[in-house]
């Protein structure tokens, strides 16, 4: 007999924070990055589809499913830039992992925090293949909810030690400086993007406006730099001047989705790009020389969420950091769903286990 078929482990926001703290933020990012890389290396095993988006005037709600044939995962995620004015998050998310063989969910988890972690881990995984070998200094333009995760992921995976911060809102930069104190990084708050990118080997752009914006202009990007473009991630939202794209070798997660959502919406539909998994498996070149500008045009793809869900499930074992949800009906006789309801109306016989 298989016990508790009806119960699905649920990881709340509180449990996720405890899990991250117990593992340690940097170790969590590094281990998660390995799961992402492992899944990207078997890219062709995945059932891939662009996310299913429901757009409205104020934002978007998306479902991001994928499967490797054994496990199925999906994420629910919204993006509503005006939410912060009402004390809400721009992005919230939750996700589910299920067995392909039975269709039964095996994990439900918050993914607001987890998405922040997987986005940063994926950026760092890409940079591991694309950034200059001895990179030690990164600029972060946009100091919102994602910034600290990026800083720590690049520290953990690439040994970045210098972080140069800029945001049009100095309060965001101050928050970021405060949060990154004592994490073993040298932090410099800058007064302009120009100042922030000075001497940076890696430039991370992660702003939140839902519009075309030019966070980086061509003159700011010197030879040899790796650009980690995280913020331009939906139709109509980009961060880089088109001229930068034309000087860069561009790397993407899943081309059909990035053509619609990424920086490359600004380019012709047949502009050459390389998928990151091809670099990891040796089918395509990553960084070839010290003067090349590499650009990771990141929009976030379902496989990364799948990796994150897998990692959380594995990491959760034995921690007790979850509740069991009575999510799935489990009648004694599978065809007797109605009888299960009828029996629920009767009080349990004395002595029967609850």
């Amino acid at each position: 007999m298989i016990p508790n078929l009806n119960l699905v482990p649920f990881v709340s926001v509180d449990h996720m924070m405890k899990l991250v703290l117990r593992v340690g933020v940097e170790r969590f990012l590094a281990e998660l990055a390995d799961y992402v890389e492992e899944d990207f290396r078997r890219w062709e095993a995945f059932d891939k589809t662009p996310r299913v988006a429901s757009h409205s005037a104020e934002g978007v709600i998306e479902l991001m499913p994928t499967s490797d044939g054994r496990v199925y995962g999906f994420k629910y995620v919204n993006g509503h830039p005006k939410n912060t004015k009402e004390g809400r998050q721009t992005v919230t998310a939750f996700g589910v992992l299920a067995e392909v063989d039975t269709g039964y969910p095996v994990l439900l988890t918050e993914m607001t925090i987890l998405t922040a972690l997987r986005t940063a881990a994926t950026s760092a995984v890409a940079a591991r293949h694309l950034a200059p070998r001895d990179a030690s200094c990164m600029a972060i333009i946009g100091n919102g909810a994602q910034a600290e995760f990026q800083a720590l992921a690049f520290k953990a995976l690439l040994g970045i030690r210098d972080i140069r911060l800029y945001d049009i809102d100095p309060v965001a930069t101050e928050k970021c400086v405060r949060n990154l104190q004592g994490q073993g990084l040298r932090i410099t708050a800058c007064r302009s993007t120009e100042e922030a990118v000075e001497g940076a080997h890696i430039i991370t752009t992660v702003t939140a406006d839902k519009q075309y914006a030019t966070i980086l202009t061509d003159n700011m990007v010197g030879a040899g730099v790796h650009i980690n473009a995280v913020g331009g991630d939906c139709p109509g939202k980009t961060e880089l001047h088109r001229d930068i794209l034309l000087r860069s070798d561009i790397f993407v997660e899943y081309t059909p989705q990035t053509r619609i959502e990424g920086e490359i919406q600004q380019l012709a539909a047949d502009h050459p790009v390389t998928e990151l998994w091809q670099v990891m498996t040796g089918q395509a070149a990553g960084r070839r020389d010290a003067r090349q500008i590499t650009l990771f045009d990141s929009v976030g793809f379902a496989v990364e969420d799948f990796s994150a869900l897998r990692y959380v499930r594995d990491k959760l074992a034995g921690t007790g950091l979850h509740q069991d949800l009575d999510l799935l009906a489990d009648p004694d006789e599978p065809r007797d769903l109605f009888g299960m309801i009828l029996r629920a109306a009767k009080p349990s016989p004395v002595g029967e286990a609850a």
Copy 2:
């Protein structure tokens, strides 16, 4: 200040059973049917898409999203016919309702039981427009998990009093007879489909095999009958002989999905069908005469789940039949997700509310 932005009400299987019993099964079905009809009448307000299916050798996992511009809903549902051999349900489901304006989920609920109820309610809503006016007798071919819900929905909405049951497995029929005792129906267990359809004004087919099967042959279907075809609901799965379809006026939920999944996969891609909402709004004729054969080729559509989610949310108010899940991260300052994790590491100051 908006309280508890992070908490999402969750309706477990146990709470759903209690809710159904508190409302009463027939009243629940009748009220839910009104929500379905209300939403079908404003069909054009919905953002509609065929469900997003992930097929495997053993079954399918589907996401079914829709939105009316104010509220967004989706259902996760699997279909694995072999599951019953392992003590699992063929179909399990859960669903989420969210605000379009913020993207924040406002309800998470089990939907295994709820799907059974909405499927039956939708069948009865369709029959209210298509079945012979004085129908009193219904045959149900296939006596699995959906059968009792169909019987009670047709009793509640159409005043059906005679139910004639047949299943290739007599144990399923016995279960159904037992469950329907004392519900104010005359139940007849039959030894064949031919016997079951004798004198029936409505024939409901709701078998579970995932293959082409001929549950009904042409000679079994007399003039004037309404056929409620519920079981053929995925590619490669049908229940009716093609000749019956050619003699019937065919009504569907959402044509693009039914062409792929319904009985009409057996017909040419341009075979005329009528969408149910058109009948409800008077844009198309339903039943025109007493000799016409009407067929509701039901596969289940996202709008029905949306109606069911709406109904449960409205019905839940004040019952206490839910738990609050800590599903959404809710930092004091929206951009300070990382700071929220840091602060979770520190013990709360004495006297602070938990």
